[in-house]
């Protein structure tokens, strides 16, 4: 099945396909999104207007169930940052799109004025169906009804009420291998772009699809074996399997960088109660349906995900991840994993990003609209979002909107997007990434927390961040999970060989960094044309003056160091 570019116009209800232009053949995932945005979207356009496009692209390696390499990138001009945005997720969407020969899938054209639609995509093409009956439905109920209607083998990408309301904190959710709509392209408000075009869901039927062809199956097989062997042998794989990303709670709290009560402290007195260690003990004691390890996509060998069940044996949410524990837990002063899991389910069901909404709730707490540590108060504010009240819409539009509306100055955001669960005053390399990434403050744009450096020393952090940002942009273009990078790091020829074997190319050892650099160059080009300059590559001013306990440190990486990364 020859890869094609798909163009979908909801207002006209047309689906067309075309050949992949040569300039797009050697990109996928995040890099291809930046290329398409530069080629086709006016950088200064209204993000929720007709000139913006919402783009799905599988990574370059997606389509073969190579462990941890079947991710889907979604992107467009962000309503949150007003710049370039890519957010990637696991689940089955990437694999199914690749098997349907979809190189890129563009939602474009005029905005429909009424009705709600779904698009059924198969090897025969695309078909619109009315979806008015799903309007207003939460993500979990909508996904269950779609699976009932179209069968258990389809993939889904859908929005919740948050996307329908075009809230800037809205994401797009995908089915995992258990058909749970829990794998979210969460960051940057991309769900609002889908809502603006009144598309509730895409249903992916790949039953007539096929694995993408391989130019050199023997070379592919050898590279795959080497990669999988190294990935399985890596000590980090065992940690992620047993503790998941929640293992970071103790680590980041230990460094004094765990966001606590709207980033007022980097150490949380309840950290042990919400740690990965505690979660593992709790889930093991509770037994089924709780699971300490779980795969988000078929073929994953790491299985960092989990299923969080209650004491009485009902499933609450799958998975419960570190960033959510940080922003919805310690950042709200909550030290109860059950409470955090229930808030996580609610935010997922609304189709919103737990990081953005957790940060917004922290601001609401600082403004007195709930108390820190008050689970019922947080749930009540999420209820405001579901009802679409003015206060709910403010919070659903994210941290910056909430801070401005409620009069809170201490807003943890860069380029309009909330910081993830590492306070940059204690983990300064990650602060450099927050400040300078074209994506805004993003936990997937280049973390530095595991580097063997003094995280409080401003020296050398810019270089550390730069290397991390380049590598991550490369992996995001491949469609590889960040945790696959441990296997690739120990099998240094595998990326080169897998690409050459799949596509018949002749790329060299440095291909990962070449893809990363090219991606960042394209993204910065789009942002510059959208009006961004060096003044936007900064952390919030208050983080450079307000000391963070326990180290009482401020963010003091010099502006000149930040500017060097923007060049």
């Amino acid at each position: 099945m020859e890869p094609r570019v798909w163009r979908v116009d909801v207002a006209k209800r047309t689906v067309t396909t075309e050949a992949v232009p040569p300039t797009r053949e050697r990109l996928g995932g995040r890099g291809l999104i930046a290329r398409i945005l530069l080629d086709e979207v006016p950088p200064k356009c209204d993000p929720l207007g007709p000139l913006n496009k919402l783009i799905w692209t599988p990574g370059l390696l997606t389509g073969h169930m190579l462990p941890s390499c079947d991710r889907i990138s979604i992107g467009g001009k962000s309503p949150l940052t007003r710049g370039v945005k890519e957010s990637n997720a696991g689940g089955s969407t990437g694999l199914k799109m690749a098997r349907l020969g979809i190189k890129a899938f563009l939602l474009e054209g005029d905005l429909p004025v009424d009705g709600w639609w779904l698009l059924y995509v198969s090897a025969q093409g695309g078909r619109f169906e009315a979806a008015d009956d799903l309007a207003g439905a939460g993500v979990y109920q909508a996904a269950a009804r779609l699976v009932d209607r179209f069968g258990t083998k389809v993939g889904l990408a859908l929005i919740g009420p948050g996307g329908e309301m075009r809230l800037s904190g809205a994401g797009i959710l995908n089915l995992d291998k258990d058909r749970e709509p829990s794998r979210i392209n969460g960051r940057g408000g991309l769900g609002a772009l889908m809502g603006a075009r009144r598309l509730k869901a895409i249903v992916l039927d790949d039953s007539g699809g096929e694995r993408p062809p391989l130019a050199d199956p023997d070379l592919y097989s050898a590279a795959q074996k080497q990669f999988v062997r190294e990935l399985m042998a890596h000590p980090q794989t065992a940690i992620y399997r047993d503790y998941g990303t929640a293992g970071l709670v103790s680590l980041v709290d230990g460094f004094g960088g765990l966001p606590t009560r709207n980033f007022a402290s980097g150490r949380f007195e309840g950290a042990e109660k919400i740690s990965g260690e505690r979660m593992r003990d709790l889930l093991q004691a509770r037994g089924a349906p709780s699971e300490t390890t779980h795969a988000c996509m078929a073929g994953c060998t790491i299985r960092c995900s989990n299923r969080f069940g209650s004491q009485s044996g009902e499933k609450i949410v799958q998975p419960l991840e570190y960033e959510t524990i940080g922003l919805v837990g310690s950042n709200l002063g909550l030290d109860d994993l059950d409470a955090i899991a229930r808030l996580n389910w609610e935010i997922n069901d609304l189709g919103l990003d737990t990081i953005e909404i957790g940060a917004a709730l922290g601001l609401a707490a600082e403004a007195g609209y709930m108390s820190f540590g008050d689970f019922n108060g947080a749930m009540a504010l999420l209820g405001e979002i579901r009802r679409g009240t003015p206060l709910g819409r403010v919070i659903g539009n994210g941290a910056v909107a909430t801070g401005r509306a409620l009069g809170v100055r201490r807003v943890p955001a860069v380029k309009g997007q909330a910081l993830a669960s590492y306070d940059p005053r204690a983990i300064k390399g990650t602060g450099v990434t927050y400040a300078t990434s074209p994506q805004g403050a993003d936990h997937t744009a280049g973390l530095t927390v595991r580097a063997k450096v003094d995280h409080l020393d401003p020296k050398g952090q810019a270089e550390l961040s730069r290397t991390a940002q380049i590598n991550v942009a490369g992996y995001d273009t491949l469609g590889a999970c960040l945790f696959a990078s441990f296997g690739f790091a120990k099998a240094p020829t595998a990326v080169r060989d897998l690409l050459n074997a799949r596509y018949g190319w002749d790329v060299s050892d440095g291909i990962l960094q070449e893809l990363g650099l090219e991606t960042l160059r394209l993204e910065r080009g789009f942002n510059r044309a959208a009006g961004f300059g060096p003044q936007d590559d900064r952390l919030p001013e208050w983080m450079t003056t307000e000391p963070l306990p326990p180290h009482n440190s401020v963010f003091d990486v010099p502006d000149e160091d930040l500017d060097r990364l923007s060049e």
């Binding site: 000590p235 980090q236 065992a238 940690i239 992620y240 047993d242 503790y243 990303t245 293992g247 970071l248 103790s250 680590l251 230990g254 460094f255 004094g256 990965g276 260690e277 003990d281 991840e321 570190y322 960033e323 940080g326 993830a420 669960s421 936990h443 997937t444 973390l447 927390v449 595991r450 063997k452 450096v453 003094d454 995280h455 409080l456 960040l482 945790f483 326990p550 180290h551």
Partner: protein, 79 residues
């Protein structure tokens, strides 16, 4: 001198009383982080364990003082 040692994730240990993730060690003056690693029979491999003393990353030869908190953290990243 008394030093508190916190064992993270896979370094936690099973004991008849349950999971142990916090120890208080009584060490001789002059003890370093490496002394603790040797006492607990923990071998550093590659860059797989972060040594975090009172919230800051240190090297194995770093000296310890009474009241210190040393965290031994198998390195992970990402969220």
């Amino acid at each position: 001198m008394i030093v508190t040692v916190r064992l993270h994730t896979i370094l936690r240990r099973q004991s008849p009383e349950g999971v142990v993730d916090r120890l208080q060690l009584d060490l001789q003056p002059g003890a370093t982080v490496a002394t603790v690693l040797a006492q607990l029979d923990i071998h550093l491999r590659d860059d797989s364990i972060l040594l975090v003393l009172n919230g800051r990353l240190v090297k194995p030869d770093h000296p310890l003082a009474d009241g210190d908190e040393l965290r031994l953290v198998p390195a992970i990243s990402g969220g």
